[in-house]
Symmetry: C2
Subunit: 476 residues, 2 copies
């Protein structure tokens, strides 16, 4: 397991040293992680990377060489550096379950810990959760566009470094992909891996037909042939059909063809006709080449004859929105043994934080559809025997009352007093959990273009606290 203790912004360490000098480093504080916008103007976000966050926290330790490096910066007191030698996370972390569907502005991770500890972990917590959540969400959009066809993650060569390839593949599977080409990710996470051959295989042989024969010879049960090295319809597909016939005679069942360039609509339709006419109605047509949810949606609407989608660059980088802007904001700080709410104000109203030690509940109707989320102060209780009225935090006249409903509390303990309570789940189990989560959403929140905005409201008590704090700060 990698030790990423120094993977942090320098200001976390300068602040930690400052708090230490001021002797307030052990003050208990609460930070919320949340994001302000769903990726790709979408209607939801799948939270992913919790397991890697747990590993990161469990492996926090400043090694001798780390301390020596920090010493060399001439920024930190000797006392502080000695103090770091015994660093151990001793706080509480609550988080939503990995694979959960979440929405803007609600806490998805809540850290309550001594100030210096909560500060150190900010950067890597955000790094891990922002990236994996981004890719899981993107994958879920691509799979939605593919309308049940398998989507395969092919992006490693264009991923932003090795980790992006590895953890991006993990997140893509959780978001709904059926497999990845990434072998190391397959080994690490026990997820399905896929792959056949490249253009270079075809080029290596004297002719395309020889290359196809050789491939079918080695993998008679897995003959999926790449048909666009020279000319799909005049060479690739006719050659593939010859080899499929040879396989059929020997009693094997060919799998399909892959097209990686050109006019995917026209070529897939023509190839389908040629395959069908040759009696290969069952073999698949796999398409790749710069695909994303928008291109797949378009090809689907045009009736392209594609059964399976290989998606590379645009999935593994989430190319039209390559970052989830998750933030980590101080919302409470202990003073004389009591948690006092804190707020960050901004000229930009969207950047004002929700103060206080909070929790989040999801409100479901009796058909198990999610109707709204509500952010409350930590000690508030909902009596589900009574009607529940929620209101929009800005347009407060927008109200909704729930009569038959039940609620779930979304934040669950990952660490309590530094003790890890996280139970590992397989990636395929998390994938299943995500699938169920997505099924609790009404379709209008899932659509790719201009989805409805899911309700995330504040309890009356929290709304009043926030309004009062804003009025007070702005009077000064």
């Amino acid at each position: 397991m990698r030790n990423l203790t120094l993977l942090t912004d320098l200001y976390q360490l300068t602040m930690m040293n400052g708090y230490f000098q001021e002797n307030i480093h052990e003050d208990i504080v609460v930070f919320d992680m949340f994001f302000r916008k769903n990726p790709c103007n979408g209607g939801y976000t799948i939270v992913c990377g919790i397991e890697q966050l747990v590993d990161y926290i469990n492996n926090l330790k400043f090694k001798d060489e780390d301390i020596k490096y920090l010493e060399s910066l001439n920024l930190f007191s000797k006392n502080f550096l000695d103090f770091l030698r015994d660093f151990k996370f001793t706080g509480d972390i609550y988080s939503v379950e990995e694979g959960s569907v979440m929405f803007p502005n609600e806490p998805i991770i809540r850290v309550k810990a001594p100030l210096y500890q909560a500060q150190l972990i900010e950067t890597t917590l955000l790094n891990i959760i922002n990236f994996q959540s981004l890719i899981a969400t993107k994958a879920s959009r691509v799979c939605f566009a593919a309308q049940g066809n398998p989507v395969l993650e092919f992006g490693l060569r264009r991923a932003q470094g090795p980790d992006a390839g590895i953890y991006g593949a993990r997140a893509a599977i959780i978001g709904g992909c059926s497999g990845t080409a990434n072998v190391l990710a397959g080994k690490m996470f026990n997820i399905p891996i896929v792959g056949t051959h490249a253009h270079s295989w075809v080029q290596k042989f004297d002719s395309e037909i020889e290359s196809f024969r050789a491939y079918a010879n080695v993998y008679p049960n897995k003959a999926l042939l790449l048909v666009d090295t020279y000319d799909v319809l005049n060479s690739g597909v006719p050659n593939a059909i010859k080899v499929f016939n040879e396989l059929k005679e020997k009693g094997y069942k060919p799998l399909g063809i892959r097209i990686d360039s050109g006019d995917l609509e026209y070529v897939s339709k023509e190839a389908r006709k040629m395959l069908d006419n040759a009696g290969f109605e069952d073999v698949s047509i796999v398409a790749s080449n710069d695909l994303d949810e928008y291109k797949i949606l378009n090809l689907k609407s045009l009736g392209a004859k594609i059964n399976s989608w290989g998606v590379g660059t645009k999935l593994i980088t989430s190319s039209d929105c390559p970052a989830l802007g998750g933030v980590y904001k101080l919302c409470a700080s202990e003073e004389n043994g009591k948690l006092v709410p804190k707020i960050k104000i901004s000229e930009d109203p969207e950047k004002i934080t929700n103060p206080g030690y909070k929790k989040v509940i999801r409100i479901y109707n009796k058909h198990n559809k999610a109707e709204a989320d509500l952010i409350l102060l930590h000690d508030e209780v909902i009596d589900t025997n009574k009607n529940l009225t929620v209101f929009h935090p800005i347009y407060t006249w927008k109200k909704k009352t729930f009569k038959e409903y039940y609620v779930k509390e979304l934040l669950k303990p990952l660490f309590l007093n530094g003790k890890c309570l996280h139970e590992r789940k397989s990636v395929m189990d998390i994938r299943e959990y995500t699938k169920n989560e997505l099924n609790t959403l009404w379709p209008q929140y899932r659509r790719i273009d201009s989805p409805e905005e899911y309700k995330v409201d504040l309890s009356k008590k929290l709304w009043e606290l926030k309004t009062n704090m804003l009025n007070e700060k702005k009077q000064k």
Copy 2:
């Protein structure tokens, strides 16, 4: 050092097994790595990541657990898996020097190796070089826009995983950034790290002025204060000035203020006036908040009073073009001891490859400005005593003749017969090399919007080979 041997696409392994079964796996082949477009519609690309590529190659080894995993896939023959146990890279790799400025369609890395070896390394070679080259290039664009002001890399929390943060910081420095906030990158690569405090520092204290005083108390020589937690002009700057005066009385020199939100043009101009009026003409104004080369260019053109630029998300992800599309294509294959050129054809003319075992030279004028690059067959010789005429590979009537010129061969050996010849350089030395490289470019290739296209031509011999091969393949 991490062993990334399994970090590859599954099809590399299925092809390797196929070649092994066909007993052609030891055939010597040549692959070129090149890209087809510069990032962000720019005029050049900085090649970066060569050192990590070398580490990757040097650490290639299939461990027992890797073999066991591959066995579990039921795809590979026992012989092949045994063969992998002794895998070692024994080929040649030529590459441009790290930090070089390169252009579309020219080989930047050339691999000549037994087929099975050349195939295995494709994916991770591309992964490493694509990402770091992307970020180095993006950083260079941002620094160009900042017109000599320091640019600081602040993106770790939004980077696409830990590696993207670490190697992205390295690449950003090579591309011209003055520092990074990433502590681990600072330690690993001995590069400058920077950072002061966050909004949470200000929130933690009862008032902004107390937080500033506490910071100045701990870091009297490094007082750079974040002034936008509550209200920049009505609270942040006046409080900073008070604390700067207190520092001045004690004989310290304050460093500056940082603004992380709001109207950077207006606020920086007003803050500058306030600071100047208080006698702090020397202190810096650092700006951050969703910056990139376009926003910096705009703020510069409006006369914003900003001395230093913190750039996060949009640099570390290269958000408007989050992938460099580098590819790795078979260009020659040994047959009876002779390298035979290979070509990949596509309906899309841009995707047709340059066949043959090739090299690249750069043509400089006597003022050391780069005038054009020329791709030649490996055994071609340029006699620089004679005039040299180059021509456009598509619009062949576009010609240029060089009279007083000299040439440099760009590809240099990294590995010969598996032996590593790479000499490590410090990141700061590579950064200096890149700076010199950029100085060899005429300004029209460096501008951010609509740069001129740098000439990359084919030698007559190579052009004829390609044209003949295309005619021949298309006749069939």
